[in-house]
Symmetry: C2
Subunit: 218 residues, 2 copies
């Protein structure tokens, strides 16, 4: 807690939160995430660790933290991941330490994980996690977006639709639900959720000192 003498504004130190945005492909998650990261300087993207080889154009520590399998397995054994998974022989995970550091600085972290990763985060950090599921306004609109995006064959789009409805079946595991009719409106809704969550008592640890300074006994 500090009291800025010039403006008279009270500043309460806060603990950051972990934000998960999930959606089926085509429902707008990527667009919303990019807009959020651009507009809100208090939230940063989590950088995952992976054992897969670095690809041209990728930067170590930015796109991913690239490690060998032994290092990864040792961290799994040491409980050093908030969540991890193996996909096509490659391991991916979110190391705890850097996330904890950012949260402790009162800044928020955005995660790009699927429903299984979200469940693992919820189980390892239930108080810090805020999960938002983004739904398309209708199945027709989702199909239209999947068509427009890639101009793929009906067969490919059909497979994607099946995958999307399967992904959507996990909507009820999430704290908040947004139906994405308009991207700007959906970004504003995510910002509203963030603004409200930041006012939660548990995210304002400095409030303890602030109240104590007013002579209030607990």
């Amino acid at each position: 807690m500090s009291n800025d003498k010039d403006s008279g504004a009270v500043t309460i130190s806060r603990r950051g939160l972990m934000l998960v945005l999930s959606s089926p492909s085509g429902a707008g998650k990527s667009t919303i995430s990019r807009a959020l990261l651009k507009r809100d300087s208090h939230i940063t993207m989590s950088v995952s660790m992976t054992t897969r080889p670095m690809r041209p154009g990728e930067t170590d520590g930015e796109d991913y933290i690239f490690v060998d399998q032994d290092t990864f397995d040792g961290m799994v054994a040491g409980g050093e991941f908030l969540e991890h998974a193996t996909v096509f022989d490659n391991s991916y995970g979110t190391p705890k330490a850097p996330v904890e550091k950012v949260l402790g600085q009162g800044r928020d972290v955005l995660f790009d994980v699927d429903w299984q990763g979200t469940q693992e985060l919820a189980s390892n950090a239930p108080k810090d996690l805020v999960s938002v599921f983004i739904l398309p306004p209708s199945i027709e609109e989702l199909e239209r977006r999947l068509h427009t995006r890639a101009q793929d064959s009906d067969e490919v789009v059909k497979k994607r639709m099946a995958k999307a409805t399967s992904e959507m079946s996990h909507w009820s595991d999430y704290d908040y639900i947004i139906v994405n009719e308009d991207v700007d409106e959906s970004v504003a809704r995510v910002e509203t959720i963030l603004a409200a969550e930041r006012l939660k008592r548990i995210r304002q640890p400095g409030m303890v000192d602030f109240v104590r300074a007013m002579g209030v006994s607990q």
Copy 2:
């Protein structure tokens, strides 16, 4: 769930929430509540039931619902109150039925209860309750506001300050904490909390039908 063909807007039926704003006297709760009720047509004030005699200028069913002690005691015995208390031989309580009706219509209810009433509401309706504690920006500002308001003697203000710090000791029972430096900013923060809470999955029961209509299995 309905789909407005004219605007294309998706409407998801929702369940209302119960909002409690608490603060020590002088921290601005009444001003914030009035502004909120005026600006947000989706929230209404809960009307309490009481056994105390009606006063001149009061309207039955508007200021309070006035009942005799036998009626009140019968309702207590029947578990028909969300919270109730006896103060100076008079009983006060919030009947369940009208609140449940409003929540079922997807509208929110604002309560004017103390920390004990809040605890009782939290215990009887944990999923529906959203509790916000409003703190003054400093103890000096609280004292200044208590002085300005009534032009009372130092003795009276001292007693009020003791009562206020006692009330403030319950701040840590609440979900959200707002430091009221500027009334307009604090009203905006309560509105942000309401907007976010309305996006919670549990407050959007119509989402079940909406998702089912997209062919998503649960």
